[in-house]
Each structure stands twice: as structure tokens, then as C-alpha cells.
């Protein structure tokens, strides 16, 4: 495709997709291309600085934020398969930085999107890139940053409906945190585990066989707890489902 009017998207891979689950990034590219976008992947991207920022390590976070801005500010659109990473850029960079850098952060925030909101609100993807195989019943975990910082709630549900003909089985307490919270889950593991158990209880009560979500952080933590507790639910990033890329084992599952 070389349509000059096609939206040009720079993929913000996010460090978790890069290191833990590349299939999410490949699925994202596939979906964006299906929506008619030209996708590039800035090669020197690493981490947006969110772990440092959340821990109050503002100096380290600023260094990474500036590096990120330099790499992405010439993009037409920046899209990330994560609400919390997109939220870091849109909501928190402008708070973290001042002066000229703050202006540059604000400009970047204007064109940065979480994947499902971009596919739904900006380019209106309505056809799946692959022929869908039979999907199991799905419940959806709204991650807090996506939900509250970026207002993402309907978009992934609508995409699942349109692309996969799947109606999400809603769980109770969808707006309550799953207990991940970045370093929180390792600093206060017992409290975190209680919160994840509540989430898993609400998810399994729907009868769904799969839990989908838009943030790998939450999903890794939920899948890890499900494994530990012997709870049988397949945990996947929504991008993999929408792109029909379900060939790799679900998060935390063996080959």
C-alpha cells in the first residue's frame, strides 16, 4: 500500500509487548495495516519511563520521557497496545516535564492513542484481518489507566462485536483495579493477590472461558495468579483476538 493519504502510524511497542509478548505487537501492526495505515516501528524505543515515574523516580523518568519524545514527535500518529503506556504519554508526560519539553509533550499527547481507541475512534476499522476461527466466550478486563485516564470502555467491546461477532460477557465490578499497579504487586504481594482473586472470581462467575484486556501488565499479573491458584481461564491481549492470531499459547500457558 502506498496511498499518500493513508494515516502514518508509529507503533509504540511498549516494553512488555517487546519483551514478554511480541505477538501483541505483531497483531497490532496487522490490525493497523488492515485499517489502511502505514506502520513504522521506531527502532530505538525502549521504555516510556512509567515504572520510574510511578515509583516517584522523576529524574530517571524525565530522561526516558525526553528520549521517547525525541523518537516519536515527528510521527503523524503514535499508537500503543496499552492504556497505561498511552496514558503515561498523554496524561503524565505533561505533568512530569516543564518549559519547552512540556510543550513538546503536549503536542505529542495530541496524537498518541491506545490501540483500540485508535482503531475505533480514528480509523474506524470494521473488518477483521483474518478469517475468524470459532472463539470461546470472552469477558473483558478494563485496565484502570485506560478506563479513567483515556476513557476507554466501549471501543474494545465494539471491535470485538464488529470484527469477531463476539458479545463480551460483562463481569461485576469491572471498574475496580485488578491489583497489578506495576511495582505495587511485588511490593505488597498479599494485598495485590487479594485484589486479583476478586477480579478472577468476578471473571469466572460470568462463565467465560477467556479473559481479554488491553494492558499486558494487568494480564500478566492476572494470568500469573490464575496459574498459581489453578484457575482455568485463558488470558489474552485483545489485539491478538481481534487480529485472529491465537496460534501462540495464552499468557502463562505452556506449549
Amino acid at each position: 500500500m502506498s496511498d499518500s493519504s493513508a494515516p502514518r502510524v508509529s507503533l509504540f511497542v511498549t516494553c512488555l509487548a517487546d519483551l514478554m509478548r511480541p505477538s501483541v505487537a505483531f497483531a497490532s501492526i496487522r490490525l493497523l495495516e488492515q485499517a489502511g495505515c502505514i506502520v513504522d516501528v521506531p527502532q530505538r524505543q525502549t521504555c516510556c519511563g512509567q515504572p520510574s515515574y510511578n515509583a516517584g523516580e522523576y529524574a530517571s523518568a524525565s530522561v526516558l520521557a525526553k528520549q521517547f519524545i525525541e523518537q516519536f514527535e515527528d510521527a503523524q500518529y503514535v499508537v500503543a497496545p496499552s492504556g497505561s503506556c498511552a496514558g503515561m504519554v498523554c496524561e503524565h508526560y505533561p505533568k512530569l516535564l516543564d518549559g519547552e519539553w512540556r510543550q513538546r509533550a503536549l503536542a505529542l499527547a495530541q496524537k498518541t492513542y491506545e490501540l483500540t481507541s485508535f482503531l475505533s475512534d480514528v480509523v474506524q476499522l470494521d473488518k477483521a484481518p483474518a478469517v475468524m476461527t470459532e472463539l470461546p466466550t470472552i469477558t473483558y478486563h478494563d485496565s484502570c489507566a485506560g478506563l479513567r485516564e483515556l476513557g476507554i470502555r466501549e471501543q474494545p467491546r465494539e471491535l470485538l462485536r464488529k470484527l469477531c461477532q463476539v458479545e463480551v460477557r460483562e463481569m461485576q465490578q469491572t471498574e475496580v483495579c485488578c491489583g497489578f499497579g506495576g511495582t505495587f504487586c511485588a511490593k505488597m504481594p498479599e494485598i495485590s493477590a487479594k485484589m486479583t482473586d476478586d477480579k478472577l472470581r468476578n471473571a469466572t462467575a460470568t462463565g467465560a472461558a477467556m479473559l481479554a484486556g488491553g494492558d499486558l501488565g494487568c494480564l500478566l499479573s492476572i494470568a500469573g495468579r490464575a496459574r498459581r491458584q489453578g484457575i482455568d481461564i485463558e488470558v489474552r491481549h485483545v489485539a491478538e483476538i481481534l487480529a485472529g492470531e491465537l496460534y501462540s499459547p495464552a499468557i502463562g500457558e505452556g506449549e
Binding site: 510511578n54 515509583a55 465490578q173 505495587f184 511485588a186 505488597m188 486479583t196 498459581r228 502463562g252
Partner: protein, 472 residues
């Protein structure tokens, strides 16, 4: 009150192990957001009211000197005696002095978090006074020798059965059933009635101070505040400087926000305005009234980056919506104010060092800030406190150094990709078959309670580069 916040995590783990109490907290966490949401929806444009009150509170705090002086003038003209207390101990000694001047023996107290903060009850007891809490929740925990677990419902951690046992033990009233909640309330009422009639001094708090009239406003559901204020000869109102508002209508605007956010009611049973002592033509009311205005570091907070915290109206909504508060219970926070607002206030009013866990008891989920009627960015303030901790080298050096090392490497893309590629491929080889790790030496915090999912394979960057090179 003695600070116990150092033990937050340990106490939270213990609180989780008490299954009945944990289930009661879970039930509250399901119920309270629903009633609040219904009340907010019914109101209409709650957000407009929230922003309106926020502007007023900001303006009042920006002009605190002016409005305090005006309040003092008007309140004094109404016949009140206004006192300023810099510190907790100063408030306590002002109150004890007043009690001693009147040869008081018994004090009837309304609910007041400020006097919990200063430890007034113990101080007065040591001064030889009998102090009776008259708010039902406060009365229950006073009888049980406990502290409040919630700023609005201090005894929410107690079950009906526990209260029944407590009353049977503490009230010498012979054989009786005390089966229903209304039996329990009825018994507390009748026991308290005598105390009200015998008390020499009444002590209450205030939800707002009105500068233009010198009045104070108190919002309650039980009416005990009014009995404390009107039956004893002397009334002492204890509150903090930051309750000040310019006009009467500002106080009622706060009240509308407060009741819906706190209990989901459209109106509490009682909202009272206190002007001062009984006038010559009046038949009842106290003969003498005092207003003690506590600073206790509010001026410092006002001058700091945490000043938004002073806009808090003490509704408790952030507690009710915080899953960490629900998991841990109010007592785990180890001081007067629990939950998100407490995790900000406790370090500011005590020391950052002794309260190090509290600003970390947060996932930044943002639910508290979403419902806070004062629109306080609680997760931001908590993160700023973590920042301050890091600057002052408080908390685990291992975590801090780990995060700094991670950031240092991440700022060098070549090195970052070189290292991560290798680590991920080793982890993948080790974990691919089973899909996750039960134990990982460098992630023991994670694997304490959950498996660590194994990485899928080579990093995305590596795979992407290889595919692109193939194409070229």
C-alpha cells in the same frame, strides 16, 4: 494518637486473614459505591457543584488570613471565645483549661476526627475527667477500647454480634435479648441520655466555619451533636483552620457535596449552625462557648505542593472506593486517617520515614480521585510523596537502585536491546514448556503470590528486525 503506620503491610496481611471481618469489608465496598452513585445521579449536575465548591475552597485557602480574621471578629461579636492552637498538645491543654475553670467532671463528645488527631480523650482522662463519646459508632469503639477504622463510620469494622456482646458486657442492665439493630441503638440511646444530662461540657467538631457570620456548621445523622452543643453549660468546638468558608451558602454547597459523597443520602437527618452562647431572651443553649482552631501543620501544607489536600471535606468516599482500603481495613493504616486521604495526610502530619509504606499502598487506579467531591488528585499526591521518599532515601534501597539501573539501561537503546534480548531468550528457553515460573530469584516479590509468565520467545524488536532484513 500513637503512630503505628510502620506496620501497615503486616497489619494488612493479618486483617486479610480474619475472614469474617474481611467479608464484612468486601460487602461494604460493594454497597457504598452504589448508594453514592445513585445519589450523585439523582442530583443532576454534580460535577458543576463539585467545581463550584472547589473554586470556593481554593479561594478561601488563598485568602485564609483574611477569612480567619473575619471569622474571629464575627464569632467574638456573637459571644464566642476564639482560641488558636498551633499544635495538638496546645489544643488539648486549651480544652483541659476550660474544663478545669468550670470544675467540670463529665464531658459529652460529638464525633470529631480532629480530637482523634490530638488524642484529646486520653489527655482529658489523665486530667481527671470522664469523657463520653456520643456518636453511636464512636461510643461503640470507645467502649471496646479501639480506634476508628473509617472517618465517617468509625465502627464499621464491628459486626452486629460483636456490638451485642460488647453492650451485654459493658451495660449492667440485667438479662435481655438485644437481637435487632434497633434494640442496640435503643439501648445506646437510653444509656447516653443520662450522660448528656449530667455532662458539664460538650465538645463537638465542625464541617465548616462561616466567616461572614461567625457560625459553624455541623452535619450529623444522629442528632447527638446538637445534644452535646445544647445541654451542657459550656460548649467547645474543636476544628482546624482549613474548614473556613466565606459565606453561609458556601457551607450549604459543601454540605450538598458531603452528604451524597459520604452516605449517599440526599440530606442527613441534622445540619446545624451554631452561632454562640444562649442570649438573654433564649431559654436554652450553652452559657459559654469556645471555638478552638487547630493548625497542626496545616499552614505548612498550605505552603507546600500538597496544598490541594486541604480541600478535603472528610466525606470518606475515597476510602469506600479504594480496593486497598477494603483489603487492608482502616486500622492497618496505623493512625487517625486511613485510605487514600490518610495515606497523604498521615505522612504530612507525622513523618515521611515512619509512614513509608502508606504512599506505596496505591496502584494509581484513580478511582478515589474520580469520586473525590473535592477533586483532589490523590494518586498524584501519593506519587509526589513517593518522589519525596526517593529524594530523602526513605524506603528500600534495593528497589530504588533497581529502578535507577533499569532507567539507566533504558536510556541506552543499544545496550538495552542487547541485554533484554539475551535475558528474554534465556527465560523463554527455561519457561517455554511450562509457560510460567513458580519461582524466580530476581522477581521474588512477584512470585511470592503469582506465577511469572514466561516470555514468548525472542524480543519483538529482534524478530521485527530479522523479518525486515529478510525482506530487504
Amino acid at each position: 494518637m500513637e503512630l503505628q503506620s510502620q506496620h501497615f503491610t503486616r497489619k494488612a496481611v493479618a486483617a486479610l486473614a480474619d475472614e469474617a471481618a474481611a467479608a464484612q469489608r468486601d460487602a461494604m465496598a460493594l454497597f457504598t459505591p452504589v448508594v453514592r452513585e445513585a445519589a450523585v445521579q439523582q442530583f443532576g449536575d454534580f460535577e458543576a457543584l463539585r467545581q463550584h465548591v472547589k473554586r470556593i475552597r481554593r479561594h478561601s485557602l488563598d485568602n485564609l488570613d483574611y477569612y480567619l480574621a473575619r471569622f474571629e471578629l464575627e464569632a467574638t461579636n456573637n459571644g464566642n471565645q476564639v482560641h488558636y492552637a498551633d499544635s495538638a498538645s496546645e489544643l488539648n491543654s486549651i480544652v483541659l483549661d476550660i474544663c478545669q475553670q468550670h470544675d467540670a467532671r463529665k464531658v459529652a463528645k460529638g464525633k470529631s476526627m480532629v480530637t482523634e488527631e490530638t488524642g484529646l480523650n486520653d489527655y482529658l482522662k489523665r486530667g481527671g475527667l470522664e469523657v463520653i463519646e456520643t456518636d453511636l459508632g464512636e461510643y461503640i469503639i470507645q467502649q471496646a477500647g479501639e480506634t476508628p477504622s473509617h472517618i465517617v463510620g468509625p465502627a464499621l469494622h464491628k459486626s452486629k454480634e460483636q456490638v451485642r456482646e460488647l453492650f451485654l458486657e459493658k451495660h449492667a442492665l440485667g438479662e435481655r435479648e438485644l437481637e435487632s439493630i434497633s434494640d442496640l441503638v435503643g439501648e445506646a440511646r437510653s444509656v447516653l441520655r443520662d450522660h448528656f444530662l449530667q455532662a458539664d461540657i460538650g465538645i463537638i467538631g465542625a464541617n465548616a466555619l462561616i466567616a461572614e457570620t461567625g457560625y459553624s456548621m455541623l452535619v450529623t445523622n444522629e442528632g447527638n451533636g446538637d445534644l452535646c452543643a445544647n445541654l451542657p453549660r459550656v460548649l467547645i468546638i474543636c476544628t482546624t483552620l482549613d474548614r473556613i468558608l466565606p459565606r453561609g451558602e458556601d457551607a450549604t454547597a459543601v454540605q450538598r457535596l458531603l452528604v451524597r459523597s459520604a452516605t449517599g443520602q440526599p440530606q442527613t437527618c441534622y445540619t446545624s449552625f451554631y452561632s454562640g452562647p444562649r442570649r438573654e431572651t433564649e431559654l436554652d443553649g450553652p452559657l459559654e462557648t469556645h471555638i478552638v482552631l487547630l493548625d497542626n501543620q496545616r499552614s505548612d501544607i498550605l505552603a507546600s505542593d500538597y496544598r490541594e489536600m486541604l480541600q478535603c471535606i472528610r466525606c470518606g468516599a475515597c476510602l469506600n472506593h479504594c480496593p486497598i482500603f477494603t483489603a487492608s481495613g482502616g486500622h492497618s493504616y496505623g493512625w487517625v486517617y486511613p485510605g487514600p486521604m490518610g495515606s497523604v495526610l498521615t505522612p504530612l502530619l507525622n513523618s515521611l520515614e515512619d509512614t513509608a509504606a502508606l504512599p506505596n499502598a496505591c496502584t494509581s487506579c484513580g478511582r478515589c480521585a474520580e469520586v473525590c467531591p473535592a477533586d483532589i488528585p490523590l494518586p498524584d499526591l501519593l506519587r509526589d510523596l513517593r518522589h519525596q521518599q526517593s529524594q530523602e532515601n526513605i524506603g528500600s534501597p534495593r528497589w530504588r537502585m533497581g529502578l535507577r539501573l533499569h532507567a539507566w539501561v533504558a536510556a541506552r537503546p543499544g545496550l538495552y536491546q542487547f541485554l533484554t534480548t539475551r535475558v528474554m531468550s534465556i527465560l523463554n528457553k527455561l519457561g517455554r514448556r511450562k509457560g510460567s515460573f513458580h519461582k524466580l530469584p530476581f522477581a521474588s516479590g512477584w512470585t511470592d503470590q503469582r506465577d511469572f509468565p514466561s516470555p514468548q520467545g525472542e524480543s519483538f524488536m529482534q524478530q521485527y528486525k530479522a523479518r525486515r532484513d529478510d525482506r530487504e
